[in-house]
Amino acid sequence: MTKNLKLDVKIGSLHMKNPVMPASGAFGFEMASLFDFNELGALVPKSITKYPRGGNDTPRVCEVTGGMINSIGIQSKGLPYYMEHIIPEYAKYDVPLIASISADSIEEFAEMSEIIGKDPAVSAIELNISCPNLEGDGKAFGMDGDLSFELIQKVKGVTDQPLIAKLTPNVTSIQEIAIACEEAGADGLNVANTILAMAIDIHTRKPKIGNVMGGISGPAIKPIIVRMIHQVRNVSTLPIIGCGGIMNSDDAIEMILAGASAVQVGTANFINPLSMIEVLEGIKEYMVEYNISDINNLVGKVNIPSSTTTLY
């Protein structure tokens, strides 16, 4: 029965055989012995920066209710190492590779995208626009509609790769940013990165994260992300990748019903290394149970009562 399920989804010219993939920064080839990467819809390595970076002070993670805070600081070996050693490692698999890029300026995003985009092993680029704009006021690019527009448009001009904008949830209106990215030519939207958070050890009175603040991930943020997916779906026709707090297939299906065409699993991998495989299996079972032959027929199919006020 599961044989006839249509699970494949598209983001621009990126074609994935199923909607389940890892979230950047919570996946790597060190996991290759745990399950078969060929089962996934796509592979998404940790975000790469142009130059090598050392990352932030430890502790870089701490546990909070229903999740964790991380502030790794995008420790990276730089673009040349990435092109030479990391991409080839993933190219071994028969699954599209989505390269995630972090940069300090729009020019750097464009420059890196151009280089990475030329690698035939790469099938799409995810632009981590949640990282701070070091030439501007230090706020993330994705906190500003105009900057997001400019960034995507610039990158669009230098590469033909499908572009996924990874939005930050730390905004007043995720719709506004989504629209800006769509208008600038993005092929898909990742909703979303982590939510900025902080925890303090009341006995040492020190922040629990070396870098004081970090991003919260895990089930605690899922209801906020589901809301944002639904909001973005209402204003944009772009395929959405839902990301934030998925622990099991029910969570993934919830995001698909809210409007996501695909999902990324991050923190759950740390707790159950087989999370992604189980999410995929669970989606199939749900489709069989409810007689859904094509996953795309579930996307955005939440039943909104007509009487609902649009103000919250």
Binding site: T58, M68, N269, P273
Partner: protein, 261 residues
């Protein structure tokens, strides 16, 4: 490495703050070495959220069991005390790089503090199996916390205990002991775990004598398999200082290379 469902054989409180757990490791068909660790899911539901890393305290290859010695600290270890014999728990590992005893090291000195003793106990066991002479300085708040001393003695190790309780655990006294034991036992390699202060002491002392050694580090972890870069520490390499992962390149590192802060 893998997430194994392992049966708890026993899980008992052994002193005021410490518990000891033995699990059936029959289904693990990978090799496990002293210094490696497992990342344990401490509760069935969503709490605590993350797994908790624990070194192997004892490996019983014949009876196919492994043992952990753990300090009850916060939510995770409190949950662990609720594991009951017969229950299957979710144990992910073995993880990281363990200790390696070189052929020529026929006499070793261990310096452990607190729960670091759990980590070095497995090394003492391996030393015993390899007929390596093992001398250990164990430091803790109280004698009550030094229960593992007997385990080490059981392996034939010479054990010196120092505690706050007895007023013997101050740096000066430990330094004196280290110097003395280095001489007395013609120590060829030094090992340490569990205290930054004592690790620095051991690093300096070993360096002075040109004695090699290893150290087991702890750091807060995310993935425990090397993908997230949560658990880094600095080590000196041929081209300067490198940031490496405690869970992947460690938790055991060459004592002389680690940058202790």
């Amino acid at each position: 490495m893998k997430a194994y469902p392992l049966e708890v054989l026993s899980n008992v409180q052994v002193s005021e703050r410490y518990w000891h757990m033995k699990v059936d490791s029959t289904i693990i068909d990978e090799s496990i070495t002293a210094g490696q660790f497992f990342n344990i899911k401490c509760g069935e539901g969503e709490l605590p959220f993350l797994r908790r890393p624990f070194s192997i305290y004892r490996i019983n290859r014949e009876e196919k069991t492994i043992e952990f010695l753990y300090l009850v600290k916060g939510s995770g270890t409190v949950q662990m005390t609720k594991f009951v014999p017969g229950e299957n728990i979710d144990v992910f590992g073995p993880l990281g790089v363990g200790f390696s005893l070189k052929e020529e090291w026929d006499s070793i000195l261990l310096l452990a503090r607190g729960v670091g003793i759990a980590t070095l106990a497995a090394l003492a066991q391996e030393a015993a199996e390899k007929n390596v002479k093992c001398v250990a300085i164990l430091s803790a708040r109280s004698n009550n916390d030094l229960l593992a001393a007997e385990t080490l003695q059981g392996f034939g190790a010479t054990v010196v205990k120092v505690t706050e309780e007895d007023g013997t655990s101050n740096v000066e006294n430990v330094q004196r002991l280290v110097n003395q034991l280095f001489e007395e036992h013609d120590i060829k390699a030094a090992f340490t775990c569990g205290s930054m202060r004592l690790s620095r002491l051991m690093q300096r002392s070993a360096e002075k004598r040109g004695i090699p050694g290893q150290i087991a580090l702890e750091e807060h972890m995310g993935c425990a398999v090397g993908v997230c870069y949560a658990c880094v520490c600095d080590v000196r390499g041929p081209h300067g200082i490198n940031s490496v992962r405690v869970c992947k390149e460690g938790p055991v590192f060459d004592l002389e290379k680690v940058v202790l802060t």
